[in-house]
Amino acid sequence: MRRTTLILAAVAAVIVIAVVLGLTFLDRKTDEAATRQLNEPAALKAIPARAASPADDGNWTMPSKDYASTRFSGLNQINPSNVGKLQVAFTFSTGTTEGFEAPPLVVDNTMYVVAPWPNNVFALDLTKPGAPPKWMYEPKPAAAAKGVACCGPVNRGAFYSDGRLFMNVLDGHTVAIDVASGKEVWRTKLGDIQKGETMTMAPLVADGKVLVGNSGGEMGVRGWLAALDAGSGKLAWKAYSTGPDRDALIGPDYRAPYPQDQGRELGVSSWGPEQWKIGGGTVWGWLSYDPELKLIYYGTSNPGPWNAEQRPGDNKWTAGVFARDVATGHARWYYQSTPHDLFDHDDINETILVDLPTRDGKRFPAMLRPSRNGYFYVQDRRNGRILSADPYAHVNAYGGVDLKSGRLIPVAEKEPKEGRVVRDICPGPPGAKDWNPSAFSPVTGLLYIPHLNICMDMGVKNANYIPGTPFVGADVKMYAGPGGNRGVFTAWDPIARRKVFEIKEDLPLWSPALATAGGLVFYGTMDGWFKAIDANSGKLLWQFKTGSGIIGQPISYRGPDKRQYIAVPSGVGGWAGAIVSADLDPRDPTAALGFVNATKDLKQRTTKGGTVYVFALPQ
């Protein structure tokens, strides 16, 4: 009897040891594979979608640099060895004090600066010393618009195309400006500020159409994306993010990758009666365009109100990503990243179009989305299928993404209920990453993500709908997540699906990133430091303190003297910086929808400003 037991035990022990050894071995193998992948040259790296990312001509014509949204400059004059000598070439004060998010554009030796509110546009002549203005354009937005702009009266930039600048004005107009004269060519009214509709996003011009969307997800507006004829400004099509299929331009060629997004009239049936009319889903973020597939990609914002108890259902087509035919606007596919969004986790973040290698050495079209809900999605951009979705920040509000069903897994205990505050929800309402886009470098194959480490306490309550006033229904207190730093700069390898390095920033990171062929990555902090880091290691190589906090988009261009320049707007504001730009009171932690609690110290660390800084190596 005893002997049998002994033998059994021995056998069991052997099996256990074998299994453990086997697992260790297997584990090591995958590790090796990953390392090899990382070290191998271009073959196994992601590369920008070729058609969407032409070779660099030294200009910077659109905020995201190219249709693939890489924010990658092909210029390599400035590199890790000489970046330390970088110095200011010239500065330009816009005379404003609101949040400065728009990037300067550079086309043929002229720099176009879209200043913060009231969004005057300056054309600077780069050929002359000190870059004096050539002309100034005043869009003269309605004053009332400022008060319905949820998170600062910001503008995210203009788009240069074919001798014209296209931009949105906060009060719901899209304008086209002739770059030669600085005169307005056409102006089209699209939004109604009386309902709380504003426009802050940067247009994208593709296929002869100006694509613009509205803002106001916190005001109970109904989101849409509109296409205007670039020549005349006439409305070509308008696709709503809620409501009947007819309005959402969902037709017979719509093929959603997952069952929950398939079906008819989901924009109505996934809402309570009538609620889709005030349900949000605005389009205030970034668009990308694949000229080969003729598809545009963009995300829709949060459903309204924030209090999810008031809007049962999945709330289609909010908080998801659309692929639409640029000519007709018809949806090709849609994927809802955050169904029945509980935490203002819009899905408006940038989509970077890349071609990923397959096992057999070919490439297929994909897209990278560091989403607001904290997951880094890699999707097939032809059909929306998810290839991977990994958390790139601290996430406890969700249990992951079920790759089989494509559905985000909710965490019941973090669901806010009326009458009690739910604590320690990560990420907070600005998400793991807010609007500020990342940059993709084909040199390293990494995506550089400036983002947030912010959690929140949230208490929801019944929200009243009065047109033109906020429709939120939540009290929020944000604060730093684990580690105590509020910002993070992460370099992410989309193929190995892992973080390569990260830099902890004390203040929230609200500025986008810029990657250059010189092996550098630039970004700014809210207390005004403009930093250059090594694209491979993340080592800080150079930094410069600007006059105000940086939330603007840095660019790089080739000047008339063939030198590489780096430009960055400096002027704190936006949602995160509203405490400074709108002079909010830090004693109220719920101010600015709760962001003030996370940036209480900002008033001591920076002041308002509105200046473009341009840097270059000494001659």
Partner: protein
């Protein structure tokens, strides 16, 4: 003791007459029927106990005439032999009776808890000072129905009601159907309703909730399944557009002025969420949470000066011009 008999007679008459719309002896719901069963048992046993006590008391008082005891007899510490057995019998009787009642109460309570254990309809009732926000939650969210101060229930269909409060503690009580349940801020409570008889009933807030606690009622209609479905689909419809010039004037006033800041009428721009939904106001039995029966005169009185009928409620006296008032009432009356 004559008066007591009279009182009992009156009480009996009152009880007999009480098949009212808000009556715990209504017995129109499963739980309410259980209540009557248990109440009857308690009444019978308690009455027996009571009669024994009163009889013993009277007997003791009666006996004094024959007794010759005085303190001077030095017998004031003695106890006659009958007392001990009587004590034992009394104790046994009391303990047995109470045990029976406790056990009966426990099983009826279990039975109540099992009532409507598989609810077919889910509702949410949210209490506010001083009105009821009612929502029917169907699996198909686009069929969610929101109304106020009235609920309709299909007969013999178990209904689960989730109870919430937006401000203070209230209590949800439809005596003809079931016992009460508090609505407590920060907590979710629930109640199960299983109506057994069709009819019109009335519910009322049963926990003091502020100055207008008295006028916080709820109209309850229990109807056949078909009637219920007809009502439901009629309620889902959006409000009809105004037809006459007067109604149009009222519509315009409602949607652009003070009213729309608080009230919702589906199908119109008025989407206020903090006051009762008025989409089908005119189809209801009462105004202002049971404060007034629904008719044109009362509607006039209420809209013109809500503070005179229900002082302290949160609807302001707007100070309407007569023509504005006429238009508004004409429009509100179309909200069938």
């Amino acid at each position: 003791m004559n008066r007591r008999i009279a009182a009992v007679a009156i009480a009996g008459a009152l009880l007999a007459s009480c098949n009212g719309v808000q009556n715990v002896m209504g017995g129109d719901g499963a739980e309410s029927a259980n209540f009557i069963r248990l109440f009857t048992l308690f009444m019978v046993l308690c009455t027996i106990m009571y009669l024994i006590v009163v009889a013993a008391l009277l007997a003791a008082l009666w006996r004094r005439r024959r007794s010759g005891l005085t303190v001077d007899d030095r017998r004031h510490h003695q106890i006659s032999p009958i007392v001990r057995p009587a004590l034992i019998a009394w104790t046994a009787l009391v303990v047995t009776g109470l045990t029976v009642l406790t056990v009966a109460s426990f099983f009826i309570d279990r039975s109540n808890a099992a009532t409507a254990s598989k609810p077919a309809i889910h509702m949410t009732v949210t209490a506010n000072q001083w009105w009821w926000d009612v929502e029917y939650n169907l699996p198909d969210v686009s069929k969610t129905l929101r109304t106020a101060n009235e609920i309709h229930l299909p007969v013999n269909v178990p209904v689960h009601v989730t109870l919430k409060s937006n401000d203070v503690i209230h209590s949800f009580w439809i005596p003809n159907l079931a016992g009460k349940q508090d609505l407590i801020p920060g907590r979710l409570t629930d109640v199960l309703l299983l109506a057994r008889k069709t009819g019109l009933y009335r519910g009322q807030c049963a926990e003091f909730c502020g100055v207008q606690h008295a006028q916080m009622a709820l109209d309850v209609t229990v109807e056949s399944k078909r009637d219920f479905e007809r009502w439901y689909s009629a309620q889902l419809a959006t409000a009809k557009p105004p037809a006459t010039p007067l109604q149009r004037a009222g519509y315009r006033y409602f949607t652009t002025r003070e009213c729309a800041a608080c009230h919702n009428i589906s199908g119109t721009p008025a989407s206020g969420q903090v006051a009762p939904d008025l989409t089908h106001l005119a189809s209801r039995r009462s105004i202002a949470a049971g404060a007034l029966p629904m008719n044109k005169g009362n509607l006039y009185g209420w809209v013109a000066d809500p503070q005179s009928q229900k002082p302290g409620n949160h609807m302001p006296t707007v100070g309407l011009e007569p023509n504005e008032l006429h238009g508004l009432i004409a429009y509100l009356e179309t909200l069938k």
